[in-house]
């Protein structure tokens, strides 16, 4: 199995390396909104002293860590898979003796991230020089504790997107469904602002949704702002949503294959 992943990696890396200019454009597009939020909130906090206890440095560290965390936990499943399902190109992968999503799609996504990271790193370092954050709150223990949550965050976001993308077996409207889903992510994950600055109602809903595991939770964990009880809540949340996503994906994929009409080929 390891060899399968290794060879998928080699092929995907070689393939995507040819599109590195394209990747760089995607990277710039992705960077725009977090940097705007960062600039806006930092200047507000600077003028008022703080926003609900968030100082300028809190905002700076939050958004700079957000960039890293989002790089790790986000996914592009729909862009890899949806067209393949709709135009039938997935056919050749379906009749191979390995699961297409858990091999080909997954490795493609990870290779994409790795390549993205190479372009992202210098930009991130430059942003750190520009905003001069104080990372004193981050300890090695926090980082070690955050690693499994980052993996879980990616696994959950990957699987949920895979479930939504599988809807392409039934309808060609899958992109608009995913847009709606992405709006939920922005709202409930902490991508827009730290969740504690959101209205009470949104916070209490976000507490039980999987989205905070993708952004807010790992960042707060890194910054050491979570009480043991909240970390435990996060463990429960991660276990529940991971299990849910695995089961949902298995069911939807199996039904989708039954429904599949293998258009073209």
């Amino acid at each position: 199995m390891l060899k399968i992943y290794k060879n998928f990696w080699l092929v995907n890396w070689a393939e995507q390396w040819q599109y590195r200019a394209n990747l760089l454009m995607y990277l710039f597009y992705w960077l725009v909104s977090p940097i705007i939020y960062l600039a806006v909130w930092t200047s507000i906090a600077n003028s008022k002293g703080d926003v609900k206890g968030y100082t300028a440095n809190d905002f700076i560290t939050y958004y700079l860590l957000l960039l890293v965390v989002d790089q790790i936990t986000s996914n592009i499943v729909i862009h890899i898979l949806a067209d393949k399902i709709m135009d039938g190109a997935i056919s050749s992968e379906i009749i191979k003796p390995v699961h297409p999503v858990l091999t080909s799609t997954l490795v493609y996504n990870v290779a994409f991230k790795a390549l993205n990271f190479i372009g992202f790193l210098p930009i991130w370092v430059a942003l750190n020089f520009l905003f001069k954050p104080n990372y004193a709150a981050i300890t090695w223990q926090n980082i070690l504790l955050a690693v499994p949550f980052l993996i879980a965050g990616f696994a959950i976001s990957f699987l949920i997107s895979a479930v939504i993308t599988s809807v392409a077996f039934w309808t060609t409207r899958v992109y608009s469904i995913h847009e709606f889903y992405f709006a939920l992510v922005v709202l409930f994950s902490g991508q827009f602002v730290p969740l504690t600055l959101m209205p009470e109602m949104i916070q209490s809903i976000a507490r039980y949704l999987p989205f905070q595991l993708m952004i807010y939770f790992p960042i707060e964990l890194l910054l050491g702002r979570l009480a043991p009880g909240e970390i435990l809540h996060g463990v429960g949340l991660a276990v529940f949503w991971f299990t849910f996503a695995v089961v949902a994906f298995k069911i939807v994929w199996k039904r989708g294959l039954k429904q599949y009409s293998a258009v073209g080929a």
Partner: protein
């Protein structure tokens, strides 16, 4: 299934639900709220069985259900009704052991990655099918010898000619040495030499590994060169299953003579042969004539009528098949 049959198909049926609407804005709006569906029977209670090592040709006009049948047998499609067993497996259960023993190669669809050399895709397949290094090297040597791949595999696939690409597709699909091959139009778009080479290769592969091969093709030559047995499918129904020789005798020995004739309507041509439709709707008049009379009818036509152009051809495969089941 019995031991002697490697493929058994019974009552296999596939019905597609196709949404349909008229063109135009009003129809588009209406269909948004209430979509109309039509059932299309692509494959309709087909049954046959195939012994190991057989090479069988699937014939039928476009939309006859050939490809749909191949897709069901390879596991891509779930049938609406009926059973199929291949090597004892139900294809659409997509069991790993089953998928490791078959291949589906489609001439119109490439499964090699465009941006990298085919050799890299081969290595990926080696890992996917868990082929040991020694076995892989040996298979590659054999495929190289049979297909004369050479340096072609080192070039990015996007830079290959159609013929080169098809060779690579075949190699990629056969690295795991499948014992059952489903080939959908494997020679489509290739020139005569390339077609002949692919045919030669398939015959040799079949001989060497006793592989079972089912192939569809629009080129009658593919089928006559490779298959002793043909299965005819038309409108999703099985129309003929038997020896190729039997079939040609049955349908037959007809030629189509096309004549270029001014004011064709003024002449009564019934004495020469049966009027038939040409391939491309040109101004020629086409006559269907028994093969053994083709020469005599041609000379009579030339002698008796003011003809400025004449062609003699085998009837296209579609009309051969239509013919077979009309008469």
């Amino acid at each position: 299934m019995t031991i002697e049959n490697i493929i058994e198909v019974k009552d296999l049926s596939k019905t597609y639900k196709v949404s349909e609407r008229d063109s135009g804005f009003k129809a588009a709006v209406a269909s948004f709220f209430k979509r109309k569906f039509k059932d299309v029977k692509a494959v309709d209670h087909v049954h046959f069985s195939i012994r190991p090592g057989e090479m069988v040709g699937f014939l039928g006009p476009n939309g006859a259900g050939k490809t749909t049948t191949l897709k069901m047998l390879s596991g891509l499609l779930n049938p609406t009704f009926g059973h199929a067993k291949v090597m004892g497996y139900t294809p659409w259960e997509l069991r790993g052991e089953y998928l490791s023993a078959i291949t589906l190669i489609m001439g119109q669809r490439n499964r090699l990655s465009w941006d990298i050399p085919a050799a890299d895709s081969f290595l990926l397949n080696q890992a996917i099918y868990r082929i040991g290094d020694i076995e892989y090297k040996q298979t590659m040597r054999e495929l190289d010898e049979l297909l004369e791949l050479g340096d072609v595999v080192k070039k990015p696939v996007r830079n290959l000619s159609l013929g080169e690409r098809m060779k690579c597709e075949l190699a990629a699909g056969l690295i795991h040495r499948p014992s059952v091959l489903f080939l959908d139009e494997p020679t489509i778009g290739l020139d005569i030499t390339a077609q002949a080479r692919i045919r030669e290769f398939l015959r040799e592969y079949n001989r060497r590994y006793n592989a079972t091969i089912i192939l569809t093709s629009h080129y009658m030559a593919d089928v006559t060169a490779l298959c002793e047995r043909v299965i005819l499918i038309h409108h999703g129904k099985l129309m003929y299953d038997g020896a190729l020789a039997e079939l040609s005798r049955k349908i037959a020995p007809f030629k189509v003579i096309g004549v270029g004739l001014e004011n064709a309507a003024d002449y009564d041509l019934t004495g020469y042969g049966e009027r038939t439709v040409g391939e491309n709707g040109d101004a020629m008049v086409y006559l269907r004539v028994p093969a053994e009379q083709a020469t005599s009818v041609t000379s009579r036509l030339l002698a008796e009528l003011p003809i400025h152009d004449i062609t003699i051809a085998d009837p296209p495969i579609e009309s051969v098949i239509e013919q077979a089941f009309q008469g």
